[in-house]
């Protein structure tokens, strides 16, 4: 029987179908995949690596936590295959990648809701508007006590616990709060790279406020309460939950998390397979590690980028200006800058 030639080359949307659920081990695939970057994305990458290596036990995957900035530093010189990032690539990092000739695929893998928290017993701190957040966090703002933020609140000193300045979480928060005004955040905040330290700090200090990824809040609901953020468009206070983060009403603090894949590394079968596994299982991996899955259309788009070899970032304009907005608006082929 002779089959028509074109039937061997079927381009379907069902990419890598069928192999995600295979349990049989394949010892044939060898190689190494080096991942480094954000500690926020780390749990997702770790879960992906662990699941993938159950199928392909001879592939060696290593994951580091140098932070988003530290990860890009290694990624842009070609030292790693994949970089975890809790914010999009910056213009300086993009320029560095261009200089060394590193091309990459920008793949969003999950949503994280940046959560503002207070101590559980705090009765009055329930919701904040973006303006009030600016009053609390901006350097040089007049608010010294809570009474300065909103009338009726106690005249107690504002104590802030924040992630370290090297983290993508800090960068993202700063970007939302400071915006394009070019100011900076207060310098008298207690910062720590370890989010559990922030949890302990906020839960042990009256009148304290802090922020970190939603996963840490979910695990410490008995000690902390999340502060609802007044949506700037609708004016309704919204708490961070899987639903509100996914449908975008928890604005402006829901953010996408990314992995960046070196397109030269992507040619290697082990990296290709791993990325296939990662994207196919991303919704499951995200929710099992305390994050929120992106809409299915985004994962499909991400698959397309890899398949068609469309490298580059969506978050910079050709003039290397930063783009901001919901991931569903920005992650379009038209916005791709190579």
């Amino acid at each position: 029987m002779k089959l028509p030639l074109h039937s061997f080359l079927v381009f379907g949307l069902v990419f890598y179908a069928g192999f995600g659920d295979a349990v049989a081990q394949n010892t044939g695939l060898l190689g190494k995949v080096a991942i480094d970057g954000s500690s926020t994305v780390y749990p997702i990458s770790e879960a992906a690596a662990s699941g993938f290596q159950k199928q392909y036990p001879r592939v060696k995957i290593s994951v580091g936590v140098s932070g988003t900035g530290g990860g890009f530093k290694r990624f842009t010189i070609g030292d790693t295959d994949i970089s975890d990032a809790s914010r999009p690539i910056k213009d300086s990092e993009f320029a560095a990648a261009r200089k060394t000739g590193v091309n990459f695929f920008e793949l969003p893998v999950a949503y994280d809701g940046l959560t503002l928290v207070a101590r559980k017993s705090n009765a009055w701190l329930n919701q904040l508007t973006l303006d009030e957040i600016k009053k609390i966090f901006l350097a040089g703002s007049a608010a010294k006590t809570w009474a300065d933020v909103r009338e009726g609140w106690p005249a107690e000193e504002i104590k802030i616990f924040a992630p370290g300045t090297d983290s993508g979480t800090f960068d993202y928060f700063k970007e939302v709060v400071v915006g394009k005004s070019g100011g900076s955040l207060r310098s008298d905040m207690s910062t720590s790279e370890d989010d559990n330290v922030l949890v302990t700090g906020v839960s042990g200090t009256p009148n304290a406020i802090g922020f970190f990824g939603v996963a840490y809040y979910e695990e410490n609901k008995d000690k902390l309460k999340s502060i609802a953020i007044v949506n700037p468009k609708t004016g309704d206070p919204v708490s961070p939950t899987a639903t509100t983060i996914e449908n975008g009403t928890y604005a402006p603090f829901s953010r996408p998390l990314f992995i960046y894949v070196n397109s030269d590394s992507f040619k290697r079968p082990e990296v290709r397979k791993f990325i296939g596994y990662y994207l196919q299982n991303a919704p499951k991996l995200a929710s099992s590690t305390g994050y929120v899955a992106l809409p299915a259309s985004i994962y499909r788009e991400a698959m397309m980028r890899c398949r068609m070899g469309k490298s580059g970032t969506h978050y910079l304009t050709p003039e290397l200006e930063k783009r901001s907005g919901p991931v569903t608006d920005i992650y379009q082929l038209d916005n791709l800058l190579k």
Binding site: K2, L3, L5, S7, F8, L9, V10, F11, G12, F15, Y16, A17, F19, N26, T27, G28, L29, L30, G31, K32, A34, D36, S39, Y42, P43, S45, E46, A49, S50, Q53, R58, K60, I61, S62, V63, G64, V65, R74, I77, G78, D79, T100, G101, E193, D194, D195, N196, A215, E218, E219, N220, K267, R268, P269, E270, V271, G276, S288, T289, G290
Partner: protein
């Protein structure tokens, strides 16, 4: 440290404060009975002196108790949280995202590799340096100045924070000051021994864009040997030498290479499973032997061991110096008097009597290396890896990093297995110390 404690206790036992006090009291009453007036003030001062002594002893006991209580509290909380999580899985498993299946085998092996390498490198170097400084002091003025300078540097280096050594190690060992930097990737090897390179191809059936005609064809991967790391990609042809990795290592396979755009692949499942697209781009991979060596070292075990060497070298030199100084000069003089050369004196007299002290210092220093986190975080930069290192240039992580990783996770269960990890780490440290005590004991008995 522990060797001085028993003697202290003995001393206290033989002469407890109460006994002394009663003895003095008796003396006081006896003096009072003799009623010699000018002796009274002297007795009073003795009394105050004794009281002061008792007060001081109490203060010492309180301070000692506080530190012991804090230690007991720390150990107690770690043990209560850690012991229930101790299991075979924790010891031999790999780190998994589910805390109940997670283990620290790769980290455990990483720690053992790094510390074994570190001690092999550091002990000869450190003890040698100490012998030079202590036993071969020059008489000439200039040389003496140089020796003093070295001594000063060693003492200062002992106080440098370990993270600084981490940054130094990154330039000195990982990238080797970019001396070998000829390729674009500054961390890639420019010289290597013991690596075999292959181009890895996947078969046509594993290509998601190819319809296999409904046949259930397994995914297979083939390795085609290539000359070197930077050799051009292989264009596969039917009949080329190819291997496949299976349960029992590499086996030779007959591959079939076709151009799927112009040729028809076989419909036979066995042949189809051995068919490669000759247009596909392969991935370059390497299989490294146990003796694999590369320059620059990269982020492997050896770079970590060398960096930890920098951290503990000053400690070992200083403790060895102390041990050598404690050897009575009369021993050396007697040996020299019998006509021994300085080398004979060092080898047969000074070193054997200093070994107990040297061992104590060295084991304490190596214990410090076991617990070091900051330099390894910079040098290795890996917190998740599933396999133990296979050669000196292999990727690795260490136990303190694994523990740090688990404690910074949001889930409470991870904090518990981190406590289990700490218990394992403590057990390793204690067994190191036990070895030191054992060696010291033996050597002391021998000398006596």
């Amino acid at each position: 440290m522990s060797d001085t404690e028993p003697s202290k206790i003995d001393h206290e036992k033989s002469d407890p404060p109460e006994k002394r006090a009663t003895r003095v009291d008796k003396g006081a009453t006896a003096a009072g009975q003799s009623s010699v007036p000018f002796e009274r003030p002297q007795l009073l001062t003795t009394d105050a002196r004794i009281k002061k002594d008792i007060r001081f002893r109490r203060m010492c006991i309180i301070t000692a108790c506080t530190s012991i209580l804090i230690l007991a509290f720390l150990l107690g909380s770690i043990l209560t949280a850690g012991i229930p999580t101790l299991s075979w899985t924790l010891l031999t498993g790999s780190p998994e995202p589910e805390p109940e299946n997670a283990g620290l085998w790769p980290a455990l092996m990483g720690t053992l590799w790094v510390c074994a390498m570190c001690s092999l490198l550091t002990l000869p170097l450190g003890i040698g340096t100490a012998i030079l400084i202590e036993e071969f002091t020059p008489r000439n003025k200039v040389a003496k100045k140089i020796f003093n300078l070295i001594q000063l540097n060693i003492t200062n280096l002992a106080g440098v924070p370990s993270v600084v050594y981490g940054i130094l190690g990154l330039t000195a060992f990982v990238s080797m000051f970019s001396l070998f930097d000829k390729s674009e990737n500054s961390l890639g090897p420019t010289f290597e021994v013991g690596a075999v390179y292959y181009d890895q191809f996947s078969n046509l059936a594993s290509d998601p864009f190819v319809d296999t005609g409904g046949a259930d064809v397994p995914e297979r991967f083939f390795l085609l040997p290539v000359e070197s790391r930077n050799a051009a990609s292989v264009v596969p042809r039917t009949g080329m030498l190819a291997y496949e990795n299976g349960e029992s290592g590499l086996t030779q396979v007959d591959i079939i290479a076709i151009d799927p755009l112009s040729e028809q692949p076989s419909t036979d499942p066995d042949q189809l499973s051995r068919t490669i697209d000759n247009q596909s781009t392969p991935g370059r991979i390497s299989e490294n032997q146990w003796y694999y060596l590369r320059l620059p070292f990269g982020r492997g075990v050896i770079a970590g061991a060398l960096t930890l060497m920098l951290v503990i070298l000053p400690v070992i030199i200083i403790s060895t110096q102390e041990a050598l100084r404690a050897v009575p000069a009369t021993l050396r003089e007697a040996a020299l008097g019998l006509g021994s050369t300085p080398w004979q004196v060092v080898w047969n007299v000074t070193l054997p009597s200093a070994v107990p002290g040297i061992m104590t210092g060295s084991i304490l220093a190596i214990s410090r290396a076991v617990g070091e986190t900051a330099p390894i975080l910079i040098i290795a930069g890996i917190v998740y890896i599933r396999s133990a290192p296979q050669h000196l240039m292999d990727d690795y992580t260490v136990m303190p990093l694994q523990i740090y990783n688990w404690t910074s996770r949001p889930q409470e269960e991870f904090h518990n297995i981190a406590a289990g990890g700490i218990v394992v780490l403590l057990a390793i440290l204690l067994s190191f110390n036990a070895v030191a005590v054992l060696i010291r004991h033996r050597m002391q008995n021998k000398l006596q």
